[in-house]
Symmetry: C2
Subunit: 364 residues, 2 copies
């Protein structure tokens, strides 16, 4: 892999599936000089919003490596994380006669990364791919660790694969064009790492929240690097989520129910996770695992990040129904990521009555 | 895995993904007493034809293991190896609130096995599955080795995954109801193992072809076992087809072009492979790798098995166009499995002009 890259580097250690994450400004422009996966052809997958801003630069960089470089542009938004978008990629690949060495480049946020990764996992039973995340959420979470998927009307990320990229390129420059709402959504996944794993990082986020929300490059660089480090450590121990990795889903059991219940694309994924963390914190408190003061502290931070802390009124019955389809559920029993003392998380079931209480308190 | 099974056993050795293939009569009825993957629920995937014959017996056997056993029935035929059928499985799983321990059972031929395996690979990023192949083709080839896929209008098996079953159950009793045309299609994949790997087996097939076509149980048992042994040896060395495994695609480059070119379901997969082997043998001869007498010998056997030896007149241009999308192709160069001396195969390109000659000779 690239020996001549001047950027902060975090490594995901997974034996012969290991790969680096590069974090710095202006990385896309430098990629022409790197050692990228070799092939005759590359396909950039992006969306209408991001493609207009960064696809031309990535295309130029990749032309130094590949005889054929094409772009496929998907519709933007979580509601397009579907089989139809996935098939748009397959159609593009087959129309170009793409072989099984063709390299896919995912240029965009979490939706583009997840769909592209899943397309790479399935096309001809697997082609190499590279993540070039352009949102904070994708840089700190979804582009790292090889979880790929599309949504099903009945549940989020239900159809997918564990499939690792060859490389993740976090070009911090792309965050400059990120709308405030998207930045806040990304902060939800940054904040997540505090309560589940690193209280020092939680302190740091609290202290630097204004800088982060103001797109301060140094603050963003640290947030991305530390988030990736924590994720790398967890994924390195449990790639396929047999145990530990599930803690990274803190806030996601409630959050996915919000996304599916409202219809994909109503709330951003990070918004649903922000609110879901508040719910999961209250549940942890009800279970006697964490003090009310810690719940309040985290809730204040989530609100200050510009995220919702009250869920939509879907009704307790509907929430429970949606959460029973969560991937952590077993034989109809929902399993929640709860905070088991500040900085430590675990996965466990909870009585429906307790969950109902939490939902009633946290929804309006 | 089952300790108390009285059946011939072939093992696929792939480290922690190893599994047994059981081969005997009346196995479905015995499964109630085996040690199967544990879970709360199982879903049998079958098709309209096979389901009516064997789903009730399998359901009874599985009820001894799982609190919830359901059946989803797909339309029968290669033309239904599509996203729509795959989604029928996902819908059934989600409608039942299936968790990620749910075990899928593929009861049917190659199409059912390939779709079910791919559904198992993708549902919640992977659930366990068991192959219960009920056609000769599936028992000797497609149910073994973890290749799963659906078709794309532009190319066969283009969307899929390498995903191994936990167990393969070849119940020879199910072959009794197999129509003659399907039996012949299966013989194509049996015959395949001769020229690429085992001339003694080729002798045996020639000697026992009448018995095989007459559904003789002992002859079928030997054909299934020896085919699985050869496949197990190849797959054990090269699970993801980085090299050696490609020889198992002997006849498939031409064959897939026939299937896609005529429209899926016109010819059975085995029929296309039978004819494709004749073409590949002629190509091997043109390349100076094998004698004309060997081509004639194999062609006679393929014809005697009830398989076509002349391809449909799609035109050389269309054949080449379709074959350039073959998964073995690289940078637009088609790579063929050729016989490099009787009992030995290799993968290599061939001049278009030579391929055109072969196609003109082998199509009418």
């Amino acid at each position: 892999m690239p020996a001549n890259v001047s950027a902060e580097q975090v490594r995901i250690e997974l034996g012969d599936r290991s790969y680096p994450i590069f974090i710095a400004e202006n990385l896309i422009d430098q990629m022409s000089g790197w050692a990228l996966p070799q092939s005759h052809a590359a396909l950039i997958v992006t969306n209408t919003t991001v493609g207009a801003l960064y696809a031309p630069a990535l295309e130029v960089a990749l032309r130094a490596h590949y005889a054929q470089v094409s772009v496929v542009t998907l519709a933007d938004g979580e509601e397009h994380k579907t089989w139809a978008s996935l098939n748009q990629i397959f159609d593009a690949l087959l129309a170009r006669g793409s072989d099984r060495k063709t390299v896919l480049y995912a240029l965009g946020g979490g939706v583009v990364g997840d769909i592209t990764g899943f397309a790479a996992a399935c096309y001809m039973r697997g082609v190499p791919f590279v993540q070039v995340p352009t949102t904070l959420l994708a840089q700190v979470d979804s582009s790292v660790g090889g979880k790929t998927a599309i949504n099903h009307p009945l549940g989020k990320n239900m159809i997918g694969a564990f499939y690792q990229p060859k490389l993740v390129v976090c070009d911090l420059t792309t965050l400059r064009t990120l709308p405030a709402r998207e930045l806040s959504a990304g902060l939800a996944e940054v904040i997540k790492y505090g309560p589940i794993a690193d209280l020092e990082f939680l302190d740091w986020i609290e202290a630097h929240l204004p800088a982060l929300r103001a797109h301060d490059p140094q603050a963003l660089a640290h947030a991305v690097r530390r988030s990736c480090e924590i994720k790398a450590e967890v994924v390195g121990q449990d790639e396929r989520e047999s145990g530990l990795r599930a803690i990274l889903n803190f806030g996601h059991t409630f959050g996915h129910a919000i996304e599916a219940g409202l219809g994909y694309g109503q709330w951003l994924h990070g918004e649903a996770v922000g609110c879901g963390m508040v719910m999961a914190l209250h549940l942890s408190c009800e279970l006697g695992l964490v003090q009310a003061a810690f719940v309040e502290r985290c809730t204040r931070l989530i609100a200050a990040a510009g995220l919702p802390t009250q869920g939509p009124p879907l009704g307790v019955k509907r929430y429970l129904e949606l959460m029973r389809l969560d991937k952590k559920a077993e034989a109809g029993e929902i399993r929640f990521v709860v905070i088991d003392g500040p900085g430590r998380a675990e996965v466990r079931p909870a009585p429906d009555a307790l969950v109902a209480q939490v939902l009633e308190r946290c929804c309006r």
